[in-house]
Symmetry: C2
Subunit: 154 residues, 2 copies
């Protein structure tokens, strides 16, 4: 058994699941704020260099789970691990958001599909797989650039 405390909470335009776009072709363009607890703010250092972030969070209003269910994007049932259903054995959500700007311990992001007040467990940089022309990779790109220059100067 592993126990986790939230590092912060999501401010989102969705008070309940009704408003969250679902199903095939659902677009998540909503803006929101990841509000990180003051004691963790220093951990956000350099995050503003990344264009996209992974957000790990808790489906805190989901109850129980079902191993086979009908996702909104299909009329056929599927195994829970082949879907993004909230009703999972461990109700952890994963969302890729675009980082619009950082304001201290507030991360303004686009692409939230979480409910307002959702507890955040972790934030990680998104390092690859977004098409290259839309991706910024912050300090990693800087570090690669420096390493590349060092290689060339050898």
């Amino acid at each position: 058994m592993f126990s986790f405390d939230p590092i912060g909470y999501v401010k989102s335009p969705y008070p309940s699941t009704h408003g969250v776009p679902k199903g095939l072709g659902a677009k998540h363009q909503a803006e929101g704020i990841l509000e990180i607890l003051p004691k963790y703010e220093i951990g956000l250092t350099d995050i503003e260099g990344f264009s996209h972030l992974f957000v790990l969070w808790v489906f805190d209003r989901a109850e129980g789970y079902e191993l086979i269910g009908n996702p909104p994007s299909d009329s056929r049932p599927h195994g829970v691990f082949a879907t993004r259903s909230p009703r999972r054995p461990n109700p952890v959500g994963l969302t890729v958001v675009q980082l619009l700007r950082r304001e201290g311990r507030l991360l303004h992001v686009r692409g939230v599909d979480m409910l307002d007040g959702t507890p955040i467990l972790d934030i990680k940089p998104y390092l690859s797989s977004i098409p290259q022309d839309r991706l910024r990779r912050g300090w990693l790109a800087d570090a690669e650039s420096r390493a590349s220059k060092e290689d060339r100067s050898r």
Copy 2:
């Protein structure tokens, strides 16, 4: 506080962190097995249609955390949320793996960077952002194809 029980464990070629490729340009091509507990096997239904999966897991051998640290890919320190450091407030790892094949409750995958015995919290389908020509999206692609045919027949 949220508590989670593993849904399974990773079989990986890495007994300790020494062997895991790290730093700039590190490639994770190692093969391993995601061994899901028998009681959750039915939740894997249809997962074999996906080429890639997100695996959420626990850095169960990491101790404590530091909000600013030096990742192996840079000589400069960065905030923990701008890195993939194991020493995070909530030590949850995220890995994208390629699904090679399913054998009952065993998922044979490529791209493991977890240690042998790592507890798995969740598995989710990777639905976008892998370049289209390398991505299979399993039942979702089927469902889209069916929905598209239904649209055209209207």
